[in-house]
């Protein structure tokens, strides 16, 4: 067992964990972040994506002990001041989800892409989605949601 400290969505906890325990399991069961989902457990579908020190990472192929001292954000931490993140809102507006199982992973993987301040083509948007699998939507709605969220960001920036 190892002693680690994780800060998850702003909450810091000291934990004693087995070295082999996956970050996803610790986030789910120690922090109650059940929006972190296992889709494949081999790093191929993106369902489990979280932010580790601001970067999208796959929590199903990371050990919690590797993240000792780091700051982690999950889908539960995305709303700010009670309002959904613009990408979350755009997912609803563009019907970018059906069963919704993969949705937290998509949002965590793509929020930084939306926020980086560029104006991507649809091909670039699709390439940015390449690490995430959605089995329901056929992806069109997700492309539209990213496009909408980028438009919203530009509108806010220009205000």
């Amino acid at each position: 067992m190892m002693q680690i400290t994780l800060t998850v969505n702003g909450v810091t906890k000291a934990l004693t964990v087995e070295p082999r325990r996956l970050l996803a399991d610790v986030l789910r069961h120690e922090f109650g972040c059940y929006g972190v989902r296992f889709g494949c457990s081999h790093g191929a579908c993106g369902c489990c994506t979280v932010h580790v020190d601001g970067q999208p990472r796959l929590s199903c192929i990371a050990f919690a002990v590797q993240c000792d001292g780091m700051s982690i954000a999950t889908i539960e931490g995305m709303p700010k001041d009670g309002a959904l993140h613009p990408l979350q809102q755009a997912f609803i507006a563009e019907h970018a989800l059906q069963c919704g199982y993969c949705t937290p992973g998509f949002i965590m993987a793509l929020a930084p892409f939306v926020e980086r301040g560029t104006d991507p083509t649809d091909t670039e948007i699709r390439d940015a989605m390449s690490g995430n699998i959605c089995r329901c939507t056929g992806y069109d709605g997700i492309v539209a949601a990213i496009r909408r969220a980028i438009g919203e960001r530009k509108r806010v920036d220009s205000d």
Binding site: E18, R20, R21, D25, R28, H29, C33, Y34, G35, V36, R37, F38, G39, C40, S41, H42, A44, C45, C47, T74, I75, E76, M78, P79, L84, Q88, F91, I92, A93, H95, L97, Q98, C99, G100, Y101, C102, T103, P104, I107, D122, T123, I125, R126, D127, M129, S130, N132, I133, C134, R135, C136, T137, G138, Y139, D140, G141, I142, V143
Partner: protein, 786 residues
């Protein structure tokens, strides 16, 4: 059974954003794996490593030494419990899948032993220590081996390795052949696939403290059917089993079965008197849930000089794997093909033989489309090949064979309600005309463009007679809903369906809001729970909105009538002059005579002295809606535009266009989403997804690196166009549409590849290496048109 809303619909037909989405985008949805119960034990299955073997021994001594607190159960402990999925059609050879294998294993991944510990990690360690001694048997790895003379029988008392072999006939096939100018015979093949919802399966079962009530939380599409099966198999009273499907992360038919694991987890909870949790991992899902497809069809068309098909003969073989699945059985896929092959064409003579072959692979079950993607692949490839052989434009050939008048009773006796087959062809021809032009004049010497289409029907919302004819355990085909208006005029809808992405919480609220003159936001739609909902067969078969939604619409109509009756007395008006809208009951054309729905709802339950004399209190109604005997037929045309690099075999899908007609549309946003998602699954079938076994029955594509799913890059936007021909035989004219998207793409893409290369495509998936083989067969001929 046409039902109409009494006034102009306000919400049906509108693009309402989904009421379920806020919890789904914010991580607040709770799936089976998110449920933790005190004292819960985690289950890990020891699964067969061989495709076919006798079980010599199972040694658990290392397990007991290393994990003294672990519990272990084998087939000897669980006894004769099994999955019994047999129809009583005459050719059926019955079988039982043991819940845990006993004497023999029949596919890699079959459950052999159950290990329980208090932790999901240690249970995997413990299961690793179980030593199973197998004596290998000859492996029936494919259709040819299984059907070879002298092949070992898969089950005792079987003769040959067929679950079923049946025929369906209509008309005079010999006369059709005799009159034909052309006999066109082709063989088509579709590969084995996996269904792959993003959430794997999961089950938790627990007894209540009294031991009287067994609650099962399962990622199932069929809660009531699971309850019935568990009650039968465990010999429990059905009123003491509660099945709850919490949030379910996709299903696509895969979760529309009762699996060995479901029965096992329930049995273990009773046996150990502890809550038991089993969460499938992705490898288990890929090798041991259900698979789909793996068809071989030999078709023979008898055709006049003008291209009229006089008769069609079909020989349909499906490699259905090791066991028959409950409730749809091993006959589901081949039987579906035999049923639907005549499609949208007027064919006067038909003869189909279909068979389900037992092999040492994962059982085939229902996956989006169920037999129809393969049937339409064969049907629409054959139409193209006839067109090319006779030198007729493929659309013209289809038009010459198309059904023209509705209702139409086909050669097998199925009656098609109204559709837009001819109009959809006209529309698609216009939509892809620029691509057809581009295909005729390639711009680069090594690039070829091809345009292909697939025209098809989808039988949806079929009623009980269709299931009775199958004589399989599904037995019936109705759906149900309970609608209750509370004293504050909010409404609960309890549907017997289970929603795993279809948007029922929104579309059912739209239907009910229009009936009751309230807002969708006033309505809470619950589903997937046998405790709260009336009996129903669950979510599958493109039936949810038509039958389940239809039931909600009708139950709400009963409440509407009661509200109006109360209002009529108060307003001193005849009931037929009163409408419900804007949360009011009001006399049409006289806005001064109105009373709030909330007042009426309160009177009906709290101040019942205000009710008309003799009226019972309460605002609750239940409706059961059975489908029309032959269902309602949704129609669609799919068109694909491909670009092929002759120097590499690379194939790019440049455009995919759908023209579909699902009758009355409740929410166009959700319809488009269902179509697009289905189409992309169909594109996966056409181009990438292939579950591969080696000759020893060992699975080779057991993760997402080897089993290729469609991902966003490389896909075009899916263009969806609608024609709305309301059905005359369903509530509000709605038709189902959940599966249609997945049915057409393989055929459309194969036809496009044929158009690009001038070489027929007889098999999916159309991988670059297969395209390369086709390129090598090219002759400098031009395949005509689309």
């Amino acid at each position: 059974m046409t039902d109409r809303t009494p006034h102009q619909p306000r919400f049906v037909g509108a693009r309402i954003l989904r009421l379920e989405d806020p919890r789904l985008v914010s991580g607040q949805a709770r799936h089976v794996d998110d449920l933790v119960l005190p004292g819960m034990l985690h289950l890990r299955l020891v699964r067969s490593q061989l495709a076919h073997a006798t079980l010599a021994s199972i040694d658990v001594s290392a397990l007991h030494a290393g994990f003294p607190d672990a519990l272990v159960f084998t087939g000897q402990d669980i006894g004769a419990l099994g999955i019994r999925a047999n129809s009583d059609l005459p050719s059926v050879q019955p079988c039982v899948q043991p819940i845990l294998a006993r004497e023999r294993v029949r596919f890699v991944g079959e459950p052999v032993a159950a290990v329980l510990t208090t932790d999901s990690y240690s249970v995997e360690d413990a299961a690793e220590t179980v030593f199973v001694d197998y004596d290998a048997l000859p492996v029936l790895a494919d259709i040819e081996t299984a059907l070879a003379p002298g092949a070992p029988a898969m089950f005792e008392n079987w003769r040959g390795n067929l679950f079923i072999e049946q025929s369906r006939t209509g008309g005079d096939i010999a006369a059709a052949r005799a009159r034909a100018r052309h006999v066109i015979r082709r063989t088509y093949r579709n590969q084995r696939q996996a269904g792959v919802p993003m959430e794997c399966r999961g089950v938790i079962a627990a007894l209540d403290p009294t031991g009287r009530i067994l609650t099962v939380w399962s990622s199932t599409q069929i809660p009531h059917l699971m309850r019935t099966y568990l009650a039968q198999e465990l010999n429990w009273q059905e009123n003491r089993i509660h099945v709850i499907a919490p949030e379910v992360g996709g299903g696509f038919g895969v979760k529309g079965h009762v699996f060995a694991e479901d029965v096992l987890v329930a049995w273990l909870a009773i046996r150990t008197r502890r809550p038991i949790k089993w969460i499938e991992d992705r490898r288990e899902h890929l090798i041991a849930s259900i698979h789909a497809r793996e068809h071989v069809h030999v078709l023979e068309a008898y055709v006049t000089a003008e291209g009229k098909i006089l008769g069609l003969k079909a020989d349909i073989t499906v490699d259905v794997g090791a066991y028959s699945v409950w409730p749809f059985t091993a006959a589901s896929d081949p039987g579906m093909v035999a049923k639907v092959l005549p499609g949208p064409y007027d064919i006067a003579a038909y003869e189909a033989t279909y068979r389900a072959v037992a092999t040492n692979k994962c059982p085939i079950g229902t996956y989006r489309g169920v037999g129809r993607p393969a049937a339409v692949f064969s049907q629409e490839r054959l139409m193209n090949e006839i067109a090319i052989e006779l030198g007729i434009d493929p659309i013209t050939l289809r038009e010459r064979n198309l059904i023209g008048q509705f209702p139409y009773t086909n050669i097998l006796g199925y009656t098609y309600d109204k559709g837009s087959y001819a109009e959809s062809l006209v529309k698609i021809r216009e939509l892809v005309a620029p691509d057809v032009e581009r295909a005729r004049k390639p711009e680069k010497p090594h690039i070829r463009i091809g345009v292909g289409l697939a025209l098809f029907l989808e039988q949806t919302a079929h009623g009980t007679p269709d299931f009775v004819r199958r004589r399989s355990p599904i037995e019936t085909g109705y759906e149900s809903a309970k609608v209750e208006m509370h004293p504050d005029a909010t409404v609960s809808v309890d549907s017997g369906l289970q929603c795993h992405g279809q948007g029922h919480e929104t579309t059912f609220a739209q239907l009910v809001a229009d009936q009751l003159g309230i807002l969708p936001a006033d309505i809470l739609v619950r589903h997937g729970n046998t405790v709260t909902s009336p009996y129903s067969v669950g979510t599958w078969g493109s039936r949810g909105i038509t039958l389940g939604g239809g039931a909600a619409h009708r139950a709400a109509g009963i409440i509407r009538d009661k509200l109006i009756a109360i209002a009529a007395q108060h307003l001193q008006a005849r009931p037929e002059t009163i409408e419900l809208a804007d949360r009011q009951a009001r006399v049409k054309g006289d806005p001064t005579r109105a009373i709030g729905v909330e007042t009426l709802a309160r009177w009906a339950q709290r101040n019942v002295e205000n009710l008309p004399p003799g009226m019972e209190p309460g605002l609750i109604a239940i409706s059961f809606v059975d489908g029309p005997p032959d269902g309602s037929y949704t129609n669609a045309v799919h068109a694909a535009v491909v670009e092929i690099d002759l120097s590499t075999g690379q194939i790019k899908l440049k455009r995919f266009v759908v023209v579909e007609d699902c009758g009355t549309i409740v929410n166009p946003m959700i319809v488009d989403g269902q179509v697009r998602g289905g189409v992309v699954q169909g594109i996966g079938s056409a181009l990438w997804e292939h579950f591969v076994y080696d000759k020893d029955g060992q699975p080779l594509t057991t993760n997402f690196a080897d089993y290729l799913l469609p991902s966003a890059p490389g896909l075009p936007d899916i263009e969806v166009h609608h024609i709305q021909t309301p059905s005359p035989v369903t509530p509000l004219g709605m038709k189902g549409l959940g599966e249609g998207g997945a049915i057409g793409p393989a055929a459309a893409i194969a036809n496009a590849v044929e158009n690009a290369l001038g070489v027929p495509v007889q098999e999916t998936p159309i991988t670059p290496s297969r395209v390369w083989e086709l390129i090598k067969k090219r002759k400098p001929i031009a395949a005509g048109g689309v």
